[in-house]
């Protein structure tokens, strides 16, 4: 029986209407305005969540097209998205009595997208890609933390992604390139933010570990039409997947500049033999992020002391 006394909403959720752009104003793919080696600006602040022993908030600068679309909206659909995430660190706290003895700090990482973070809604239960990100983050951080100084203790790191990077431009067909390139940017952001939060929680580390992304990008279509030779590949740092039609391969690293060491490396795609250049590019991007990271940690210390 339906309830006739109240005016009920529709049984399932509704979506706001989205009107397709008219023929007079087709949707335009955002174009990268930065130089190939120019990174997006980062906003990073520590100590925002008082109940956690350490926390950090990270935000990427919106791309030029996104900023323009926000200033003078022409469409309901934003052309691209900018990463926003928070990270909290709880601990070190004693392991539960039932747990087995551990001579080292036991690290657990959770990465969760907020349901509204991406264009496609994410459920409340972590899916495979979120678990995968958690494992990557754990690998990146475990190399930096000096774990044997906290025997029998646990450290919980939780990253909530408020706005995720797109995997591709929304106007492309869903199968156009199906690798999740946006995940790599998200991971780099997670690493940088988690590192700041761990420093905020005063956990001993070898160095602040920063994340960086680089990608081999194929030249745009317009150039391809001119000459029939195969499309050239170009190394770009800190790529926004929405801005590129096809990405050949991408790489994310977690890098400690003081030791010149990589704690996490995730490379995907065929780089045509130039994987070393790709890794070096990602390391350069991580170096850039490290500057901001060190400054944010220093700032956090001067506020509390």
């Amino acid at each position: 029986m339906t309830d006739r006394r109240r005016i009920n909403g529709p049984p399932s959720g509704t979506r706001p209407p989205v009107f397709a752009a008219g023929a007079d104003r087709p949707a335009v793919r955002p174009v990268r305005q930065r130089q190939p080696t120019e990174l997006r600006k980062l906003f990073l602040k520590t100590g925002l969540i008082p109940s956690a022993s350490g926390s950090a908030y990270l935000e990427f600068e919106p791309s030029a097209s996104l900023a323009a679309a926000r200033a003078t909206p022409t469409s309901l659909i934003p052309p691209s998205s900018a990463l926003k995430l928070t990270c909290t660190v709880h601990g070190p706290k004693p392991l539960p009595r039932s747990a087995a003895y551990s001579p080292n700090l036991v690290l657990t990482t959770h990465v969760k997208y907020a349901p509204f973070a991406a264009r496609q809604r994410k459920g409340h239960i972590r899916d495979a890609s979120e678990r995968d990100l958690g494992v990557h983050l754990e690998t990146a951080l475990r190399g930096a933390i000096i774990a044997e100084r906290w025997p029998k203790s646990a450290l919980e790191i939780t990253v909530t992604i408020l706005e995720a990077e797109d995997d591709r431009w929304y106007g492309d067909a869903p199968d156009a390139h199906d690798a999740s390139w946006g995940m790599m940017n998200v991971l780099a952001g997670c690493i940088t933010a988690a590192s700041a939060a761990i420093a905020d929680a005063r956990i001993d580390c070898l160095d602040l570990v920063a994340g960086g992304v680089a990608a081999m990008v194929y030249a745009e279509e317009e150039e391809e039409k001119g000459g029939e030779e195969p499309r050239g590949r170009k190394l770009m740092l800190d790529t926004d997947p929405a801005e590129h039609r096809s990405i050949g391969s991408a790489c994310v690293v977690a890098y400690m500049p003081a030791r010149d060491e990589i704690t996490e490396l995730w490379l995907k795609g065929d780089s045509g033999g130039s994987h070393e250049g790709l890794i070096d590019g990602a390391v350069d991007a991580a170096r850039g992020a490290h500057g901001v990271l060190a400054e944010a940690v220093r700032e956090g210390l001067s506020v509390t002391n």
Binding site: N104, A147, A179, A254, I262, K268, D270, G273, I279
Partner: protein, 347 residues
């Protein structure tokens, strides 16, 4: 409790044993492995293909340490929605089952993501300019409106004694090599119609080809300066860095054209193999118990004392990663692919 780590469970070795293992594996130039293998030598394995009659392709591999895996590949015809001719990675579905782990535990999730990454292949973009597909998903296209959907079910039969990735990857490789799809009778854009004679079914991957092969994922560890392939459980336990490197055969043997495009960045150790992905795996050596040097408190002293085990800290140098990849793309990857090709496949 702490089973969630991506690294396999650490074996219960004492700090003294760990230190002994590490020292012998880190000997400059000539590591001594516990089982006497050379650094690039693989453990003996026995394999068979075509063992499951209900599948399109199947394989079983057993390693000498008693770990075994079975892979079954099943294919279904499905309608393509988007008219895409380059294929989509969602057409390949992988499930990995490991006894003692839940489906959503970190290890099975990580393993299946890693294998999906290699198989799903992000290589469609590179292949469009040559006009042919070497990737798996391109092979699944029947015509503009129909494609094959592949279900790859990976089952580890034994406990994961060592990190099970190479075993699962090699078994999947063999199963895909033995996979046969019914012969197509219809032509062009017609609805697909197949020959019902299984004898004339066609291989998904051509046999004895030097240009195409299913991808393989190899586990490589570094100990000190040395790089070691196919590590067993004890060797992983002391490794400084553990990497999973996926490679496949490349169609472009004479790739001078694309090399010129990339400028002098290109460094091609062997143009026949191409890199698909690299992933770091958390080395279990970070979780081990430190040894306590004589007359010293472990919590105060930080310097390394020779012969006293300390859990590994920090990451891996870029030069080591480059070395690993070069070895995989060089003779080792080729040798593994040829070795697997050598297994007789039931027809």
């Amino acid at each position: 409790m702490q089973k969630a780590s991506s690294a396999s469970q650490t074996p219960h070795l004492s700090p003294a044993e760990l230190s002994y293992l590490y020292t012998s594996l880190a000997l400059p130039g000539a590591p001594i492995r516990p089982d006497g293998r050379s650094p690039t030598q693989f453990r003996p394995l026995c394999a068979e293909t075509g063992i499951l009659p209900g599948t399109n392709g199947s394989a079983r591999i057993g390693f000498a340490d008693g770990t075994q895996a079975i892979v079954g590949v099943k294919a279904e015809v499905e309608r393509t929605d988007s008219g895409e001719l380059s294929g989509s990675s969602s057409w390949v579905q992988i499930s990995v089952e490991i006894p003692g782990f839940r489906d959503d535990d970190a290890l099975p999730v990580f393993l299946s993501e890693m294998m999906r990454e290699a198989l799903g292949g992000v290589d469609s973009d590179t292949e469009t300019d040559t006009g042919s597909e070497t990737g798996l998903k391109g092979r699944l296209v029947i015509n503009r409106r129909w494609h094959w959907r592949l279900y790859i079910d990976v089952l580890l039969l034994s406990q994961p004694l060592s990190y099970p990735l190479p075993l699962l990857s090699l078994t999947t490789h063999l199963a895909l090599l033995s996979t046969k799809l019914p012969k197509l009778k219809s032509q062009g854009e017609e609805d697909p119609f197949f020959d019902d004679d299984w004898e004339v079914a066609q291989n998904l991957y051509p046999r004895h080809s030097t240009t195409v092969a299913p991808p393989i994922t190899l586990l490589v560890v570094s100990v000190g300066e040395n790089i070691i392939f196919d590590p067993n459980r004890e060797e992983i336990a002391v490794a400084d860095a553990v990497m999973a490197v996926s490679v496949t055969r490349s169609e472009k043997n004479s790739s001078a054209k694309s090399n010129a495009e990339e400028g002098n960045l290109a460094l091609k150790p062997n143009p026949k193999l191409k890199l698909l992905s690299i992933r770091t795996i958390d080395p279990p050596s970070r979780l081990t118990q430190p040894g306590v040097p004589d007359a010293e408190n472990a919590t105060t002293g930080d310097e390394e004392v020779a012969g006293v085990w300390r859990p590994r800290r920090g990451g891996v140098k870029r030069a080591v990663v480059a070395n690993m990849v070069q070895l995989v793309l060089g003779e080792v990857g080729e040798e593994v692919l040829q070795g697997l090709e050598g297994f007789s496949v039931h027809t």
